[in-house]
Amino acid sequence: MSPILTPPEIDRRHRAHESDNGSGRRPPTDKLTGGNGEGGDNWNDRPQGRRGPRERLSQVRMGLFFGLFAVLMFFIAIVSAFFVTRASGHFDAYSHYVNEWLPTTIPSILWLNTAVLLLSSASAEMARRSMFREVDVMDEWIGLSRRTSQRAAAWLSVTLGLGGLFLVGQWIAWDQLAAQHVFFRSNPSSHFFFLITIAHAIHLFIGVSALIAALIGLRRSHKLASRQILVDATVWYWHAMGLLWIFLFVLLEYGQ
């Protein structure tokens, strides 16, 4: 084989173990720093720009945002089908162009639901912010108090309540429509109304589950960073679902 510029094997082996080769020649470099109980805590070993507990947070956020891309595309696909179906019709026996689309009357409770969802987003944001308030974080880090988590838990419970209220409100809306004999299968417009609201409700249900998980996590997890991540990711997801709902609501209210 060709001569290579790589240093000989022994050198590489040596360097790989130089952090702790037991000879006492070097001080151990993987001493515990940090304090939030993260694994592999020696941030000096980490590449520039990714030292510290925020690294995992930003990873999770990034993953979440890519996931939200997918969620957005899911709804965009349905909405583009919505536009096409709204315009489509057929020629009847007398060569008249018939469009079966009968705009679904949006139950007025949806306005209330929207307000509830906005409120829940605000309370979620309060929870998120309280997880990152510096003074409290320091306190909790040192072990003086668990104030951040207590505050966040309170706000998250409010969010959970409001989120549940929203889902109940959606249920009432479907119920009201059913009372008017508007079902999924009634009309092209109602297909879309139910498809969109139910798909959104499923996504919101995932959000509710995440809230519950976050609440459990706040109680159970010993690591501040993990609790921050849980709350942060849940809240960003919650915001995104709120924003998505406003878009869908406007579409259903004014776009039919």
């Binding site: 290579i4 969620v71 489509s88 299968r185 798909a199």
Partner: protein, 572 residues
Amino acid sequence: MTAQHSRWTHHRTVGFGYVAISLAAACVGTVLSLLMRLHLTWPAWSLPLHGLILPEEYLALVTMHGTLMLFFVLTVAPQSGFGNLILPAQIGARRMAFPRLNAASMGLTGLALLVLLAAFFVPGGSPISGWTAYPPLSATALAGPGQGEGMDVWLAAIALFSLASTLGAINTLTTIVKLRGEGMSWQRLPLTVWGWFTAALLSVLVFSVLLAALAMLFCDRHLQSGFFLPTGDLVNGVLLQHHGDGSPLLWLHLFWFFGHPEVYIAILPGMGLTSMVLANFAHRRVFAYRLMIATTLLIGFLGILVWGHHMFVAGLNPFAGSAFALSSMAIALPSSAKVLSWLATIWRSRPRLTTPMLFALGFVSLFITGGLTGPILAQPILDEYLHNTFFVVAHFHLIMAMAGIFGLFCATYYWFPLLFGRLLSEPLGKLHFAGTLIGAYGTFLPMHLTGLAGEPRQYAQLTGGGSGPAGQLLQTTLPLQHGITYAAFFLACAQLPFLLNLVLTLRSHLLATPNPWSATTMEWASQDFDEASTEDKPTGLVTYRGPCHYSEDGVSFLPQWESGATSTLPPE
């Protein structure tokens, strides 16, 4: 996340899981295709323990072959399989961003495969509407056997698969964006990583569109909606009862919005790997490296905007056809740029013709051959003649299926020493390469001719259609079809040396040297820090430069992980 990861969420375990899934799917899919060839050539041949292959059974074979190969082999193996096995090490990381999510999406993919295979055993058998599942054929159980429960099972399997792929792609993207090791700036990423990145980005964007379409099709099937069904549709003497003036065209749009990027998801990782392997064995930097990054992204980007070229004769507005034709033609340019760069990379480089290099060269050859018919099919007026003929079958099998498989074999031979510490046998590998190349060309080149003769695809039988002009037209290609069947069997048999090679090598005790190919990318440094370890510690590796640093004479090289003067090497 703890310092100690479970073996089950280790990226290599997950990667091997994905590879196992696609290997199983590939075996089943190959058997199905051989049955199709047998039936097409000898319609009177009866399958042992089963009997004659009925037309609907032939279509079930078509559907399952397409679904298995496209979803579970060409999407899973390069992207999820080798992506998980190699990607973290190649960017200087020890793990994927979300190991547990990763294991979960692998499990979901496996579940999807099991659900799909269950379609063989439900009443009515597996669906017969092809992997594209155009409604109304796919929207009602009345349309034929297999369109009842078989179709429902298919929908469930593909929905699971979409979910799993989206989750897997999120993981890949986050890993590439966030977990790159120190010094691994985005220009230093190997082209393989760019391929995985672009493919993952496409997956995130399009699989959810497929999921939405599947949900709507499910509503059409069971909830009497009419998203894809027109008014007054009479199937099998029964007027479909549903509300709304939907249109099958809507499904075509949504499906191909997914379907076209899907083929790029299948092939982009292969393109990236080919670039790196060619450079590695030619001992040269990939020619016009940054242009290669740009073209990878551009192919992905344009891939989102060309779906209409599957619909030129499907009832699309002819202007839309023109627009899609132009965007499709535009893809020929970045693809040509890639081919030019590959040719320039190996030009007079006296490369080492090892098995992975041969498969990479085969990839280039197949990519050229299959790719050149792409612009032909992108012209609506020619597609009017060639649409849904064997010409199209030849085109996509060469460029996507065969090139994709060559990419996979290249990956297997190239990374085998990294994964198992042993080199696959070279003589057997070369035999495998020669057989596969001859088989691939022998099978799919003649299909161009039968396509030009006007023979449509997805026909359960080419004879017995009567003595009219249609029957005569179909029969003219029969001699060629015989040849194709022999070649297909030859192609399948050509895989035996590979299996033998795997068994012999895994049983041998000859260990490979740490970097047997003199590679420059980061994954080969990883043997220093015990890649198989489940401990979540930083690798301690630093990337000092881009990949493929070789001296002018190609004798010496400088891997990415070595500090050291680059001054002996020419500037990039």
